[in-house]
């Protein structure tokens, strides 16, 4: 031990000297050898040799001065570092010298890195970063699912009374159960101007179940749910900051909130503020969180399933055990309340993260694969650049090898160049990625972002940098090995032969061709995928909605009076205001027809549903299903231009007097009255004893929910609500009528709360499925475009190189009488061959890829010949255009010059 310390005293200064006083160390080495040689020469002369002989003898005795010097240097133990520095300098010099090559490689690679890192940013935000809850893996949504429901169903409703029983009886399986009402949103009533705000009603213990502690105050207690308790509200962090300036004495203040189904607002006492990072995807921008209150209205009926339940699995409980436990409870309740539970259901548990992120996961994974493929193409391009450059460096490498550079040393040199290249590209790529992420979030519209609260705070972070570094490390490895691979296939010595031709050029051509085929195949894959996605988007936007969306506008109206929102001032009956507003707007110039309803078509989901009873059918014939029920005006279907299949629409009198009539859609008629005329039949909602409604008409299936949902039985009854949505068919462009519509509503009710006026087409485009589809189509299309360009550039490189290699052959052919045309055929034939193989492989890949992303395609089959043909056509055309340039150069070869050069 002492000895080792003692040695450090000598060795440490030596190492420093070797590293930092390198010049002097080298001079010493030089001097030492010169001294030795001189003494040797002197000794030789003393023995009678001529000075010349003595000198040669001296040199011989050392057996190569340079090699001995190198051995001495090796003894310094810093050669690795030294070589690293040398290699780095050399690499930088090389890259600066071959600026064109370096720029091309860096830009191509940076593009690939930027694309994959940008997409990975979204993957990170949505799939890697955990949800802001405690142990999110133990959180599940729970609902009763009918055995005939789709296995992919992830959410389902539960009534408040059932939920209370679940909570009481489900203790064994769940540490806690909580629920939220899907009918989200409030009207914030203030003295100045009422405002629509986003918010949610939740059960007590909701935040405790999620494991979220309030930043200030407390969360809801069970007694807050009682209708006699004073209403309470919790604020989101944003609401606290923007509406209360983050004031700490916000607790105890009151805000007046009104739920859409209530007739007046109630003052709510602020009892807590939520932490800034909290978000809940099902109510992404919720500012106000109030409680479900008591057993009234929908909450008082077991058939009214307006809640969704979230549970935290008990410690050690398995999902299977919990579902069995919950299924037992559901069956128990069915026995106790048979009228309200007519279907036998089993409990289904879906992890909360799956419910929240399940839809974006496949899209993101698809995009990440797309970006990955782009990166692969970029890498292939750089690899072929490197191969071509290694080719042109063959002589240099051969010289260095024969001068004593070992294989390991050469390999290290190439690796350093690769690392420098990728490092520069990575830094550039990361910069581009941070811009790219900002650009992509801009691409998603505001509605979209608000539905993906987990995207907040997206941007460059340490995980992205690590990802980028991992990506570049692997590309650097590939690039570092490429020249070695190239060298291993050719004889090193052949490089020394001046004008060495033949094997080297030919083998490079073969590898280059393989690489280009791979590139073209990937490009075809991406082109086809983009084509299929585009087609799917087109299908989605042009799906038969059952209504005519041209010249159709929509707007929501919420009446307000004396500071509270009420169904009708001055004792107006329910629905009368809507009728008056509709009549006024119908009289406007440019308006063709007007209708109104509680909910608009193409909404985010179906309407609240109810069980039903077909009068005249025996008990065992009753179908145990739920029907979404919408409340509509007399003119609603005429304004939508929906086709009447049979019977008639409601009359104005029926709607005004709220007559017990109903209209059903075609699917309902077909499913419940097969081979029977439903007109004149009666249906009771809720239970057999409820007042029955007479069916007066059958309307065509209208897409009330998202366009991708399959046709579903639906019922429509006369409108009887307070707030309403107008549908207005115009004779001219919708926007031109907007100002007069707003003026007309204000004329009748100056304080009415008017939502955003939009055209139906806009609404369609804003739908989550359409937005998601559009952004992914756009992105994959972009990737495909870049892939096309990169692969065509690669192809150009290979063809151009092959032409330059074959210039002599072409010259001889021409000298022997070959026509220009046959030269073109020679060059373009090579292109066609490459493209054909690439397209064939790409098509196979594309069909596999399309099968994998089948779930993302709407009404498009993976095997889609028109798309495949279009992709092949685009690729072939661009490839032929690209190889026309080298073909022309080949045809312009002057045979005389070529032969003279021989």
């Amino acid at each position: 031990m002492r000895m080792r310390l003692l040695r450090l005293l000598y060795t440490v200064p030596l190492r420093f000297r070797s590293l930092f006083r390198r010049d002097q160390v080298e001079r010493d080495l030089e001097d030492e050898f010169r001294d030795h040689l001189e003494r040797r020469i002197d000794a030789g002369i003393a023995q009678g040799m001529t000075p010349e002989d003595a000198r040669y003898a001296a040199l011989r005795s050392l057996g190569g001065v340079e090699q001995r010097k190198e051995e001495c240097r090796d003894m310094r133990h810093v050669t690795a570092i030294e070589h690293g520095i040398q290699d780095f300098r050399f690499a930088v010099r090389q890259l600066l010298r071959y600026r064109g090559f370096a720029c091309a490689a860096v830009v191509v690679l940076a593009l690939g890195v930027a694309a994959s890192v940008s997409i990975f940013g979204f993957v990170d935000a949505a799939l890697i970063r955990p949800l802001p809850y405690e142990e999110p893996s133990r959180l599940f949504t729970v609902f009763g699912m009918r055995p005939d429901a789709a296995a992919s169903q992830k959410r389902g409703g539960t009534s408040y009374l059932d939920f209370l029983d679940w909570r009481e009886r489900g203790a064994r399986a769940f540490q806690s159960l909580a629920a939220y009402d899907v009918r989200s949103g409030f009207t914030l009533v203030t003295t100045e101007r009422p405002e629509r705000v986003s918010g949610l009603r939740v059960s007590s213990g909701f935040f405790d179940t999620l494991g979220v502690r309030p930043l200030l105050g407390r969360e809801f207690r069970p007694d807050d749910e009682s209708p006699s308790a004073p209403p309470t509200v919790m604020l989101s962090y944003t609401a606290w900051q923007t509406r209360f300036n983050g004031s700490p004495d916000v607790l105890g203040r009151t805000v007046t909130l009104q739920s859409p189904w209530l007739s007046s607002g109630e003052p709510h006492v602020v009892i807590g503020v939520l932490p800034p990072n909290f978000h809940f995807t099902m109510a992404a921008r919720a500012e106000f969180w109030a409680t479900i209150r008591g057993v009234q209205g929908c909450w008082g009926a077991r058939a009214c399933r307006s809640l969704e339940v979230v549970g935290r699995l008990a410690d050690g409980a398995s999902v299977q055990a919990a579902s069995a436990n919950m299924t037992a409870i559901i069956e128990q309740l069915k026995r106790e309340y048979p009228a309200d539970h007519r279907n036998s259901e089993t409990a289904k548990l879906v992890s909360l993260s799956d419910v929240m992120l399940g839809d974006v996961r496949p899209v993101l994974l698809m995009l990440l694969s797309g970006a990955g493929l782009l990166l692969v193409i970029a890498c292939i391009n750089v690899v072929s650049l490197l191969l071509a450059r290694t080719d042109s460096r063959m002589r240099e490498i051969a010289v260095r090898n024969s001068l004593g550079a070992s294989w390991g040393r050469l390999a290290l040199q190439f690796a350093t160049e690769a690392v420098v290249l990728t490092a520069v590209a990575t830094v550039l790529g990361l910069t581009m990625a941070s811009l790219g992420i900002r650009f992509l979030t801009g691409l998603l519209n505001a509605d979209m972002i608000s539905r993906m609260p987990y995207l907040q705070g997206i941007g460059l972070n340490i995980r992205l940098v690590v990802f980028a570094c991992a990506v570049s490390a692997s590309t650097a490895l590939v690039f570092g090995l490429t020249p070695l691979f190239r060298l291993s296939i050719s004889n090193m010595r052949a490089g020394l032969n001046e004008g060495g031709r033949g094997s080297a050029g030919r083998s490079w051509r073969r590898i280059g061709a393989h690489l280009v085929v791979a590139e073209l195949a990937v490009a075809v894959l991406l082109l086809v995928s983009a084509g299929l996605l585009g087609k799917s988007l087109h299908q989605l936007l042009h799906v038969d909605t059952g209504i005519n969306m041209q010249d159709l506008a929509a707007v929501s109206v919420t009446p307000v009076s004396a500071g509270t929102v009420s169904p009708g001032a001055d004792g107006e009956p329910r629905g009368a205001l809507a009728q008056r507003v509709a009549e006024r707007i119908r009289a406007l110039p440019g308006v063709e027809s007007v209708g109104y309803a509680d909910l608009l078509p193409l909404g985010p989901g179906l309407a609240p549903s109810s069980t039903f009873w077909i009068v005249g059918h025996a008990d065992d014939q009753q179908l145990k299903e739920h029907w979404p029920v919408r409340r509509v005006s007399a003119g609603y279907f005429s304004a939508l231009l929906a086709t009447l299949v049979r019977g008639r629409y409601f009359t104005e009198e029926e709607v005004a007097a709220l007559r017990p009539v109903m209209i059903i859609n075609e699917t309902a008629a077909r499913r419940y009255f097969p081979g029977d005329d439903p007109i004149g039949r009666s249906i009771a909602f809720g239970s057999a004893s409820a007042p029955a409604r007479e069916i007066v008409g059958i309307v065509v299936d209208i897409k009330d929910g998202p366009p991708e949902t399959p046709a579903h039985p639906s019922a429509y009854i006369p409108f009887d609500g307070a707030g309403f949505n107008l549908v207005i068919r115009t004779r001219q462009a919708e926007q031109t009528v907007f100002p007069s519509i707003v003026a007309a509503i204000h004329e009748i009710r100056p304080d009415a709360l008017i939502g955003r006026l939009s055209t139906m087409t806009e609404r369609m485009n804003r739908l989550p499925s359409a937005s998601l589809n559009r952004s992914s189509t756009w992105l994959v299309g972009d990737f495909a475009g870049m892939a096309l360009i990169l692969s065509i550039v690669g192809l150009y490189g290979v063809v151009a190189y092959s032409v330059s290699q074959r210039a002599r052959e072409i010259g001889i052919r021409m000298a022997l009488g070959a026509q220009h045309r046959s030269v073109y055929r020679l060059v373009l034939g090579e292109t066609v061959w490459l493209v054909a193989v690439g397209t064939a492989l790409g098509t196979i890949g594309a069909v596999i890829a399309a099968t994998l992303m089948r779930r993302l395609l709407f009404d498009v089959r993976p095997w889609n010949p028109p798309t495949l043909v279009a992709a092949a056509f685009v690729l072939t055309t661009s490839a032929l255009l690209a190889s026309y340039v080298p073909a022309r150069r080949a045809a312009a070869v002057n045979p005389i010059e070529v032969l003279r050069a021989e």
Binding site: E32, S61, L62, G63
Partner: protein, 111 residues
């Protein structure tokens, strides 16, 4: 240049340390001294001398210093360091043990 046997090659370090231990010397003189003391038995190639010296220097066993030599020329003189003395003692002891063992084996009489 005939190569010394592997055994001797392995003990080159020991020889050099011992030679330098007697007095500070430069490379050429070390080569001469080596030839002189070992007769023609140990012919250390001049080529392998310098790397060996540089190795010992980097190990911290000998130190080098440029000095004016007897002829008036500047030369790089190697001196044994304190760590080198300890290393020399250890190596010498090892050599004694090893060579003793080998001679005993070689002198075994056939019975």
């Amino acid at each position: 240049m005939s190569k010394p046997s592997d055994l001797v090659q392995g003990t080159l370090d020991l020889l050099l340390l011992k030679i330098v231990a007697l007095e500070p010397l430069h490379g050429w003189a070390i080569a001469q001294r080596l030839k002189q003391v070992s007769g023609d038995v140990l012919q250390v190639g001049e080529g392998s001398l310098y790397p060996a010296l540089h190795k010992l220097e980097q190990e911290g066993w000998i130190t080098a210093k440029w000095q004016v030599a007897e002829t008036g020329r500047r030369a790089k003189f190697y001196t044994l360091s304190r760590a080198g003395r300890q290393a020399l003692e250890r190596e010498a002891a090892n050599w004694e043990r090893l060579s003793g063992a080998i001679s005993r084996v070689v002198q075994l009489k056939e019975i």
